[in-house]
Symmetry: C2
Amino acid sequence: MAFSFELVKSHGDARAGVFHTPHGDLLTPVFAPVGTQATVKAVSPRDLADLGASLVLSNTYHLHLRPGSELVREMGGLHQFMRWPKPILTDSGGFQVFSLAKINRIDDEGVTFQSHIDGSRHRFTPELSMAVQENLGADIIMCFDQCPKPNERAMVEAAVRRTQAWAARCREAHHDDHRQALFGIQQGGIYQDLREASSEGLKQLHFPGYAIGGLAVGESKSEMYQTLDTCAQMLPDDKPRYLMGVGAPDDLAQAVLRGVDIFDCVLPTRIARHGAVFTPDGQINISRMVYTRDERPIQADCDCYTCQTFSRAYLRHLVKARELLAHTLLSLHNIRFLIRHMEMMRRAIFEGTLEDYVQAFLERYLQAV
Amino acid sequence: MAFSFELVKSHGDARAGVFHTPHGDLLTPVFAPVGTQATVKAVSPRDLADLGASLVLSNTYHLHLRPGSELVREMGGLHQFMRWPKPILTDSGGFQVFSLAKINRIDDEGVTFQSHIDGSRHRFTPELSMAVQENLGADIIMCFDQCPKPNERAMVEAAVRRTQAWAARCREAHHDDHRQALFGIQQGGIYQDLREASSEGLKQLHFPGYAIGGLAVGESKSEMYQTLDTCAQMLPDDKPRYLMGVGAPDDLAQAVLRGVDIFDCVLPTRIARHGAVFTPDGQINISRMVYTRDERPIQADCDCYTCQTFSRAYLRHLVKARELLAHTLLSLHNIRFLIRHMEMMRRAIFEGTLEDYVQAFLERYLQAV
């Protein structure tokens, strides 16, 4: 098997593992920066590798619309196209179809929608999502699912049923398990029994990995953590567990404690483009007046290029002057902050000190700056 | 003296030299990328150094308005603020005052204008330009001058007179020649006698370097080259000669042949932001349909990160998808293209083959692609 998951160390529900892929090993828990359009915004692959990034996520919906997955396949696949030699994960397109596009029709067969770029009409089905993701050639690919609002029970029930039916069709349509590992996606909103039903259904399909979908989409943090209390443990121990779209530093800590292995989120690069950066004392906005003459780096003990090189005063100037370099430099720091956070948690799992690390981290991070 | 110019090798009118500055040696002829707001747009200082850049130009007008030169001084000066440890040149602010701002009044004393950012009212005088440039702390600073349209003789005559009077006041106001070398600026448009008068006046003031201003501002290329035929040789042999605002690859070649040592231009980074790149076969726009499936780099024999790493197809995708990384990657290539062009010309001066290099370069560069 090209793919296998080694659970190297457990500590409570938390896990440290190695997920072997054709493009190298992922040391879990791991955070994946998002490269929506085959590029992590404003960050070159060279700089991304310097930050210690291993896994990158790219979006099937966006690449299907532009430049098209056939073109990416002709150019040698996504690794070759964007020059990221390490593992890549693509989502199914489902989340963007439901959140970005104008939906024309949704039925058990699939979804007809209009492109957010030019209004052109498209149709996604589980089978098409598989074909597009096979063209893209990521290491980890995802079942086409329906992600409902997390706390409207009737809709969540319907989404669980449809997601299960679509998962079976994706499993059927996807053939080459050695080249690409297809993950099933658990839905069920904030309802434990629906999460259970979803997990049981997916497990029948024997996926090489499982995602937790439908969280961080509108519910409260305490609802998310309560759901995670049980839903991660419903998934097989011997397969990686991927919590989709979660990347706030406190959420990462809470989810690692509860047994999640893989994460992705646009947060570090998106907030960077608005001048916001992570620090151990919480998120700050570097454009604030108070940083005008601040000669300190964003974070004194950060090893990223930005913190090793530039003052807050200079970064503030770049943000205020709307300079492109601001996006790059703040993104570098934010990505490094999350990757180091994961590295620290992995080490703490080995050392049996994860609760201490998380408690100390949260106390400092969540206090008012 | 902290500053001195060694003329190492001449070939015809062309010169290879070394300009010693407190932040290191400039090997001339040299091209300076422009960092208008204390950043070369979309390029980090780390990447800029990798490209072989030595001199960077920054704009006094922009930094005076934002973040203010006092702030830059308090933060340790421009080298420290933007983290560029090699030589920096600042212009006088004159060119931007006359081209970007709304002028309220211009008289022999100075210029009153409104900021292009917020409409606030400001006044520049030769003395203020010196004070601002001393705050910024660049190695090479420029006299406050008036840059007229190059072919309206009466206006050019008046500008030469005013530029000379202002140069004398700048020379008087600037004291520390060891920390910062103040260059005089020759004006005179396309008129040989006015260029001569301007040069003679400036030489009385014994500057450590001389700029040629008022070219590449609307005249034809042949007018520019004809003017350069004589105006560079009017300036002292033993001081560096700086042609302001010129950076087209063919113009650089023509000006080096005619004895110019230093250049700056926004061209490589500005055209990059519109998808355009230099190649030995002329400028191309990477967003063209024809590059959709082009797996070649921009330039096969280019040693920049972009050409060593990415296909035209990928770069085209980034431009079409309006990704920030496009600006960075195309800027890296364009800057490297010009810096290598200068390196090749310097070598050709030593080898006595400059005419051959320039002829071969121009024949290929100026042919239709």
